[in-house]
């Protein structure tokens, strides 16, 4: 998979901004944006239990969310 699930940018910071500036801001670009029409026989998780706890049958569509907590 040659794409990332999070994109970041550096917004303009004014010397007059009252709150402590966040230098880098990030947003989610989930994997479905890169799949188009799902091909047949896409790799699946090996067990039903793992699919359940991931929330999808297909690893390609899995997006672990840790945007704010990790980046902030």
């Amino acid at each position: 998979m040659n794409f990332t699930l999070v994109k970041c940018y550096t917004p303009y910071i004014s010397p007059l901004d009252p709150c402590k500036p966040i230098l880098k801001k990030c947003y989610s670009t989930p994997p479905n944006l890169y799949l188009n029409f799902q091909p047949t026989n896409l790799e699946q998780y090996p067990t039903a239990r793992e699919a359940l706890f991931r929330g999808t049958l297909w690893p390609f569509l899995y997006d672990p969310y840790y945007l704010k907590r990790e980046e902030a």
Partner: protein, 189 residues
């Protein structure tokens, strides 16, 4: 018709009594981009969408009711047996005087659910693009609730629900592709 099954779609566990978190979670119960809105939006649009994608709206709409029940379970457990003082401290005093511990279809700010949250335009592309937008907005709402929550069990269930929004968005995009197909031309994968 529908059959009820006496189980949740995904295990819901709650670490501790936390009415404040319940107040935020109610956004996904009776809010604009919540699970009630989602279920009613898709199940209502299915009557006037082309036959090829009726099944998808029917089935995603049905799954949304399972998600609604998961959210309700979280809210119920987070507030069960909380004292009026605990509810008041969590900003739920106004809720308590009107509803006691009952759930109510309103958003995190207390606005009651309204049909104006959902649209049915009768135009298949307009309706499916609304559905895609609804999934992305629900995904974002789950992100912001996860950011506010420090309950690891709740966050596990919320990450499951967020992932389902991604899968639903994928299927709605595919539905648009199906409606773009020229008649009698077979899809090539």
């Amino acid at each position: 018709m529908w059959y009820y099954e006496k189980k949740l779609q995904y295990p819901v566990k709650v670490s501790q009594c936390n009415p404040m978190l319940a107040k935020y979670l109610i956004e996904q119960y009776g809010g604009a981009d919540g699970e009630l809105s989602a279920a009613l939006r898709y199940l209502n649009q299915r009557y006037t969408i082309p036959d090829k994608v009726v099944g998808l709206l029917n089935d995603i709409g049905t799954e949304e009711f399972a998600h609604l029940e998961m959210i309700a379970t979280m809210v119920y457990k987070l507030t069960k047996d909380a004292t009026p003082e605990q509810l008041e401290a969590a900003g739920l005093g106004a809720h308590f005087v009107n509803h006691d511990h009952a759930l109510f279809y309103h958003n995190a700010a207390g606005s009651p659910w309204t049909a104006t949250y959902i649209q049915a335009k009768g135009d298949p592309i307009a309706d499916l693009y609304e559905d895609i937008a609804a999934e992305e907005k629900a995904r974002a709402t789950y992100q912001w609730i996860i950011d506010l929550s420090d309950d690891p069990f709740i966050n596990d269930s919320l990450k499951f629900l967020r992932e389902r929004e991604i899968v639903h968005s994928q299927r709605f995009h595919e539905a648009v592709e199906i409606l773009k197909e020229e008649r009698d031309r077979k899809k090539i994968f």
